[in-house]
Symmetry: C2
Subunit: 438 residues, 2 copies
Amino acid sequence: MPPDGVPLDFRIETTSGKARAGRLITPHAEVETPVFMPVGTLGSVKAIPQDTLEELGAQIILGNTYHLYLRPGVETVRRMGGLHGFMSWPRAILTDSGGFQVFSLNELRKVTEEGVTFRSHLDGSSHFFTPESAMEAQIGLGADIIMAFDECTEFPVDRERMRASMELTARWAARSKAYFEDHKHEVPWAGNAHVGTDAFVRPAGQSSTFADDPNRNAGKAEVGSSRKEAAELRSAGRTNASVPTWAEQTQALFGIVQGGMDRDLRRESALRTIEIGFSGYAIGGLSVGEPRELTREIVESTLEHLPADKPRYLMGVGTPEEIVEYANLGVDMMDCVLPTRAARHGLLFTSEGKVSIKQARYAQDQGPLDPNCGCRVCRRYSRAYLRHLYASNEVLAQVLNTIHNLSFYLDTMRRVRHSIRLGEECGFLSSVWSRPKP
Amino acid sequence: MPPDGVPLDFRIETTSGKARAGRLITPHAEVETPVFMPVGTLGSVKAIPQDTLEELGAQIILGNTYHLYLRPGVETVRRMGGLHGFMSWPRAILTDSGGFQVFSLNELRKVTEEGVTFRSHLDGSSHFFTPESAMEAQIGLGADIIMAFDECTEFPVDRERMRASMELTARWAARSKAYFEDHKHEVPWAGNAHVGTDAFVRPAGQSSTFADDPNRNAGKAEVGSSRKEAAELRSAGRTNASVPTWAEQTQALFGIVQGGMDRDLRRESALRTIEIGFSGYAIGGLSVGEPRELTREIVESTLEHLPADKPRYLMGVGTPEEIVEYANLGVDMMDCVLPTRAARHGLLFTSEGKVSIKQARYAQDQGPLDPNCGCRVCRRYSRAYLRHLYASNEVLAQVLNTIHNLSFYLDTMRRVRHSIRLGEECGFLSSVWSRPKP
């Protein structure tokens, strides 16, 4: 349990070179680091039931605020006790700020000092996110770790634009922090949340994040009883209990370092973000199309400016090789859609290299997908069967492919942690992994 | 273990009224009857991993010969040791003859005394099924129970057409039986299969079922080694072992009674089919659009003509209410796509009636889908979450909905068997089940 009033406890237990093995103690669960976080965009890691995720050893998953805000809406999730209760996930959750999706899914967005106007990719409806409303949404979703609202810029971009964007992100970080400090006790599972008439008052001039939600007012009145029901569920031993084990706990807020591909801007962004003060620090704005060498260079140089005693989260990265590489550089947390998205396209990661299971060469292949993998897919099914499922558009292809790829990523991180604890460089990962199978 | 040389042992252990509770001992597994068989069209019960099917208590599943013949092709399945090895399913399997799909998916089919010419629904390619080639395909697929090739007629149809069709089915049944007796030892898992040069010779004038399969000849040479590999897998304790536990075993062939909605034609069809002699008898050609009262009447009258000591299989039926009703009439085996197909459309069967989970009324519903159900979906997730997954087109909706519906069907049959053993009428099923939830 973290010290009273501290939302997150991070303990580095071993280091090996720059790499650190430790433990992140969040309100809902402990997380061993370095950790890979599967992406559960809409409150579901696509195609995978929660009990399977547990069996795979997923310790923390990521939810996308932008998507959950549009469907099913923050108020619905809040009334279920937050994302933990809504999706029946008792372990840790992190939500992003929505910034990345607002910028990547919306060509017609309009950015001002105040915030971003954007259109829903679902129905074209207009919405407005500010640092404050993004915090409000993330507090309602109730993840263990939430992210400051940042601007994500396109790549490549000129230095002036990049500096202006980095400075805007810094100002938004300060506003995110201020709103969070004032409202953090409104998290649906907080024991001492005060849900009063002022709880949802918006800063002057801002429209409600939830203005389009017809259930908004109904929900407001029931937040208290919803929390009570959740507590009753917990005491009854129901598996969808979602209330953390100590009552005074709140969420942890992380800041995001931007600055594009410029080492000086990254340094400045890091210093300004640290000055505001967060429970952890993320590196954003990478893996946006730049060469991999440049990503590594920026990650390495940015890490030098981050405090050693706080968790470091590299956003949206990467291949199996990359997650090992960045763990070696001292990154503690990573997330990426690659294992789940690639699985849906029949691209599977194995100890012998990448396998594109759709290929006709596997049609008669009776061997397991990966002879060195102990996951339930590799233990039971042949490549021929997986190829048949994919070629026949069977939904089971997506289920089994995703189970294997997640198993591969989570197992890779398990081995990384083990190597660090043994004091070894994580050299077990040969470069063959990300190449097509010979 | 069935007596030597008998492919199937059927033991009626208790009767209650017309209902029978018993045990069907197939080459791969014992099956408690009455049994509901989930449909696994393409070697996959859609969206459900095999270990989940096992946990749900599925004892026997159904594969569609038509679909498997087109994808991945019979020879591919044969080389994997049959469907059991191909899909890694150690329990019992039944395949249909392909007749139903040939007739229901092909408007341009052409029927002659010899067989049916039809076009693939996938690519329009032309194919020819005869009783012999349908048997050849089913022997290659290697299910425990296979079906005689029959003609399925449209509904409604005049009596002359129905009589002619019933008589054609009877002649095809005799040809199916004859081919099966000559070739049954070619099943991929048969200990004494003789795969020689004559094993694939077709009756004069018939083209090969596999003429379009480029792997045909390659596969032929490897059937033996494939069987040997399967035996090695089994002795190594691999979960995808697919060789039955005694070596002399072959598949069991069931005949199909047709005759439309005419009780006299049904009686005549039953007598002619019994005269040919099969290990079990199916009632086909029902649930094709006729009123439910008529279905029941035809089932009831046809059952009177079937031998009491052989398993009775009612094909393609039905709702939860219907499977209980027909078990009460003395049916031992049933299959239906309803639980799996309805699940994909968000239609869920519960002890309180049908639930259309897409409805907005469930958006805030924190209760379980069915408070009286102990399946892993009802234990863990709320209606609100299931509704969100469905409304958001998440693949997990299909996975979880299918798990629940199959659990409901299999649990219903478990209760039917229990009631019969207690000597009760299976009256626990109220008619509320198939009505929409009030």
